[in-house]
Symmetry: D2
Subunit: 229 residues, 4 copies
């Protein structure tokens, strides 16, 4: 059984098309170093700072998704996700960074690196130029990939791993539920627009391409995270 | 003392420029009929249905505001407002309509009238084509006008007024706090962008024009609401 | 034979679905008064001024279409149309108005009426929130309707009609070619996205609705044009 | 005398703030290799292919600028630039590539590299999220930098340089006029929005930051161009 089955049929279809890139992303060296606890603390702190900037732009993209919704139900799920990102996840991030000695002011001054900027602007622009589904698919690799990483790492990481709280966040029941809810949203939104036989819809290949590019941009994000500041 | 002083300096400056139109909006015949309880129930039900469609697009505009934010604080306030609109106000609206015998399905099938469409598309387009401040100003007449109407009507309406719960909603401590918070957001966002001496900034007249047009579109909304379906 | 056959299959399919509204638009009283030359000159001048404001926003929508293009060919046709609108049609309009004693300054100060604003903001917002095809369909009733009106009026209007140059503009070989080129663009863009069997694509009904609303907004534009300033 | 004086005061102000980065861009090793003719032909061909993809997205950004214009004059200049890009420059590019043995089909299949994608999506997103001026400033380093490079290289390159036609393109009277026209547009648009004393306007630092980031993204584009495919 594939662990991500519960994330819905559309995501799993998209993932199965590009398993090689998907594994390069979810099993990246950076992830392995989190998993066995060998990641240099300095790299982790750099990652936290870049990820703070990422989360801000990623939240803006979720907000755009609400603006592009076509039903009250779509708005409800997207705006709940947005609210969780802005009023919980970013706050949690600020707290985590504070515990590591990084003040909110330092976070705010973080210089956004190229690979970070490339990823969020790609997603936002896909959303502005395209429609709801184009944007939701561009957001998908991040949402579901972290869920899958959480599941994978939980089963193999030791409890004294210095990064266990990061792992626990994405393995948590709450985060896994987010993945399932967004998985349902993606399934419904896809079928509402492209029909039950969505893989044969003329628009499907464009979505596959968007998913592939966003996955590659996740790999590039990890690559950046392995380089010292 | 002006009741709306607590809504901040930018709003009160914008309002004071166009007092004539502002009064045509906030003291419109439709509002008077709510105030003395003489509004035809059928017109009220029509208003509720059109307002449901309005709220959906208005929420989309608040979502766009989050996407256009330039600081975490702006995002926080805008996304909290959005969440309240989508996950509380629209739900309350559905409940109110249900109590009046209008099902959610009927609400969903409401045919959007011209004046309704004109207003929300104007606001959304102002946001897409402009920046955060252009959009926030376009959203302002609705937010603050309803607050002011709530205050005005509460002081003159009788408790057996059939529309007392509508009046109470906008006179409520919660809604008045929303107006104060968004008033602060507007003050800060304006001064961050146009400086302390914002009225002399070259960009100010454009904002005045946006505020005027959105106020006129509120008047047109009430006009529409006085015409039977 | 239907005169608009040469405007392509997608437009004719969309039109055939809503023949009643289409005729209310293309055979509107305002059009009839142009046709028999009985239109009050003052109303014509008012129309010219409102149409100037309309053209500016309509051109902005064509620009957005270029931004949302998915191929160089789409960009080419859309940007050629935009260039013709901005650097020819708007200039021609300024010249026509000048001949009628309306200066460019007066044109620029024209106060945009509600029905005018509603139409262009609807189209622009459909474009910003949706994708290329949503926007192209929203632009269609204007483009093809004026072409059809040009054909209809030419065959019945007398050469001493005071509005003959208006009629000649839309009946001209150049304008009819624009309609045919955009008809081809619409056919190709639809089939590229929704497939050959586009009418059975899940996304088709949304496009039908957009076409209907934009057609109704054309009717509202004529209604406005019959009312004195 | 500074060669770029004729490109207007706003551009020269922005450039003078970040001379170090500006020189890293306009005097980059890739440019030097064009200048002395030592650039590996394979790298040049790779550059042409990536630049084709760049031009498509860059043209989309110019189209968005038309959509965000606030006056007919702004629309006129921006849409003329867009038309030149789409109906001349991209065509010229296709021809140049053909002469080098790269077919249009190959161009179309070019896989967009990370640094290329980062740049155009940054510009487009700056435009979608911001206003006309934000977007025009994001477009500036490319427009004016190539103009300056054209001037610089013409004076030092030999006529038998294999890349002389590339140099001639950007040194040409036509391209230099484009730079002057867009320089005037930038000067007027800035002063219309931020006033004569624009450098003291609260919004100015945001524009400086946008100009800096876009300049850095130009450097990253050259870096990419030095790496073999």
């Amino acid at each position: 059984m594939i662990k991500t089955d519960k994330y819905g049929i559309v995501f799993n279809k998209l993932k199965s098309n590009i398993l090689e890139e998907w594994n390069l992303y979810t099993k990246h060296k950076f992830v392995q170093k989190i998993s066995d606890g060998s990641l240099d603390k300095k790299l982790y702190l750099k990652y936290l700072k870049q990820d703070y900037v990422f989360l801000i732009h990623f939240s803006r993209a979720w907000a755009l998704l609400v603006a592009k919704s076509k039903s009250v139900n779509e708005m409800r799920i997207a705006s709940a996700t947005l609210d969780a990102l802005v009023n919980e996840e970013i706050q949690l991030h600020i707290k985590t960074c504070k515990a590591e000695g990084i003040t909110e002011e330092q976070l705010f001054k973080t210089e956004e690196e190229l690979n970070n900027l490339a990823y969020t602007r790609y997603v936002l622009e896909a959303g502005y130029s395209g429609d709801f589904l184009d944007l939701l698919v561009a957001l998908s690799p991040c949402v579901f990939g972290y869920g899958e990483i959480g599941l994978n790492l939980k089963s193999i990481s030791k409890s004294d791993n210095p990064y266990i709280s990061w792992i626990d966040t994405y393995n948590s029941k709450e985060y896994q539920e987010v993945c399932m809810n967004i998985g349902s949203l993606l399934d419904e939104a896809t079928q509402d627009r492209l029909g039950k036989d969505f893989v044969n819809n003329t628009l499907w290949p464009k979505l596959e391409k968007t998913f592939l590019i966003a996955t590659k941009l996740e790999i590039d994000f990890w690559e950046m995270s392995l380089k010292p500041e």
